[in-house]
Symmetry: none
Subunit: 325 residues, 2 copies
């Protein structure tokens, strides 16, 4: 125990009210009547909430405004509440955030980034996961990816290159984010006629966070994504592309390996793909191969927002000239 108290920040009821969008009276009533949350107290007896409480109240707010009666859902776990929301899948609502100005949100996000980074340093996967969960609830998934995950990964990446973090830190984070990719993806299934893309990293490129991010983004953009993880030979990537009928292949290149393997693999892959699919390459160290990419007519992905543009373009040109047969 005592982990929650020390690990996550403490909030008084007015803050909680602002963040959850519930009146203070209501928060107290829900506690009194249904033990929806059970905050600790100060010596003087004032309620002290943590991040989990806030996430919980936020979820309860959504669930009840979805038609559920508070008495029936107050004792459900975070996961059960999330499932409930997922099931209901009410695309009509999408209420513009009750209040919470954009500056609040920015501050909140930075706060989360700090907390997450601290959890990474401490090697505390559980804590990191909790922060992620809360953040996904508080910020919308889309916002979470762009404004929290991306900066966090950049920070981890650069600090790792600077020697401030061990490889094991990065591995742990990668493993966790991979496992959480599910809840990020799960909300918007791609339509059947969506275009397909294969995302991977070439052989010798073991760091896949960027590629993983890219695949989440592509799913959000309504693509069918076949994510293959790291370190695959060109034939395999090409085979996956062919099997899935993908119109694009994106490679993540983020290790400064600068050896001869990567150029060779890219060459081979380009040859194997021919004109069936567009080849894209991105990542921190893609620059190292700029000449090669130019020569082979491989599209360079500058950053994530550039990636989104490329996806849109490809999608449009694909839709305008449907199946050749």
């Amino acid at each position: 125990m005592a982990e929650q108290q020390e690990s996550s920040a403490q909030y008084l009821i007015s803050t909680v009210s602002k963040r959850s969008g519930l009146k203070t009276d209501l928060i107290r009533a829900w506690e009194r009547r249904y033990q929806a949350v059970t905050p600790t107290r100060t010596e003087g007896g004032q309620r002290v909430y943590n991040d989990i409480d806030i996430a919980r109240l936020k979820l309860l707010n959504q669930v009840t405004s979805n038609g559920h009666s508070i008495s029936q859902v107050a004792r459900l776990s975070l996961d059960e509440l999330r499932n409930l929301l997922k099931k209901e899948e009410t695309p009509l609502i999408e209420v513009a955030d009750t209040h919470q100005s954009s500056s609040d949100k920015q501050y909140l996000t930075e706060d989360y980034i700090e907390k997450c980074y601290a959890a990474v340093i401490e090697f505390d996967a559980k804590k990191l996961e909790r922060h992620f969960e809360n953040a996904i609830v508080e910020l919308e998934p889309q916002f979470f990816i762009e404004n929290l995950l991306e900066p966090l990964l950049n920070k981890i990446g650069s600090n790792w290159q600077a020697g401030l973090l061990r490889p094991a830190h990065e591995h742990m984070t990668t493993a966790l984010i991979r496992s959480m990719a599910y809840i990020l993806r799960t909300n918007n299934p791609a339509p059947d006629n969506a275009p397909s893309i294969v995302i991977s990293t070439p052989i010798s490129q073991l760091h896949e966070l960027g590629a993983l991010m890219a695949s989440i983004i592509a799913e959000f953009k309504g693509w069918h994504v076949t994510y293959l993880g790291a370190n695959l030979p060109a034939e395999e990537i090409a085979a996956a592309c062919k099997y899935t009928g993908s119109i694009a292949v994106a490679l993540g290149i983020s290790c400064p390996h600068d050896d001869i393997v990567v150029p060779k693999e890219i060459r081979r892959l380009k040859k194997l793909l021919g004109n069936d699919a567009t080849l894209l390459a991105g990542g921190k160290c893609a620059d190292n191969y700029q000449l090669l990419l130019n020569e082979l007519n491989v599209t360079r992905i500058e950053n994530y927002s550039h990636f989104k543009d490329i996806l849109d373009q490809l999608k449009n040109s694909h839709l305008s000239k449907p199946m050749p047969n």
Copy 2:
């Protein structure tokens, strides 16, 4: 039946009305006259419905508007109602199923394994994910892991070694299972005093499915798991173990590489860990290093059930001699 304690998803009559398309009065009348549904009650006496009730009412709505009299169909099972609809050839909304009898379970599982394997061959990640999702709901997570995931991975593994599957197949499956690990883990959070374990694969060992399975199993067994993914040098694994205060480290060795790197890494890791943590090794190809493991006093994990036994033993011996300070 009598699965009300299912805890999640309890609905009041207005919600049920919206979802089923039946007026509240009618729902009550059907209950009063024909026991079409038998909801539980709140303390105050209000009706509380679950997902099955809703599915049932939806079906009854369709069936009756198809011409059947409510008195004749009110007591039919979900399956019977569905059959009725199917016969009538009325392409209406499909209703999610939940209920399953235990006798079907084995057959059902084998069916799922077939379907999942087919999805893997077809490179259809979305389909595979759907099968997984359905299976996890239909079978309990625990059962899912032991009776579906394990055989499926074995099948994939052996067929991959036999050359029937491409590496890319295995990569895709790995990536997907990693991302679904979240919902498998998420239901039973480990208590704060749970022992910790680090799970990884040594450098040059890139295939992590086994290690991933092991980490899911360990989480189910109530351990704090720090999962580091594949291909980590010994110092990193040792560092993670030290940081997290883990009492055990499990390595997955499933590639027939039989080179000199793995023995070297295991030796180094054992040295780095000293007596602070128990070193375990498992996986298809751990046999290749049997002599080394014996020499270094590394526990060999025979299979997943053996792994569970080991975890229990370690947990007990850890609890009996708590913190040295």
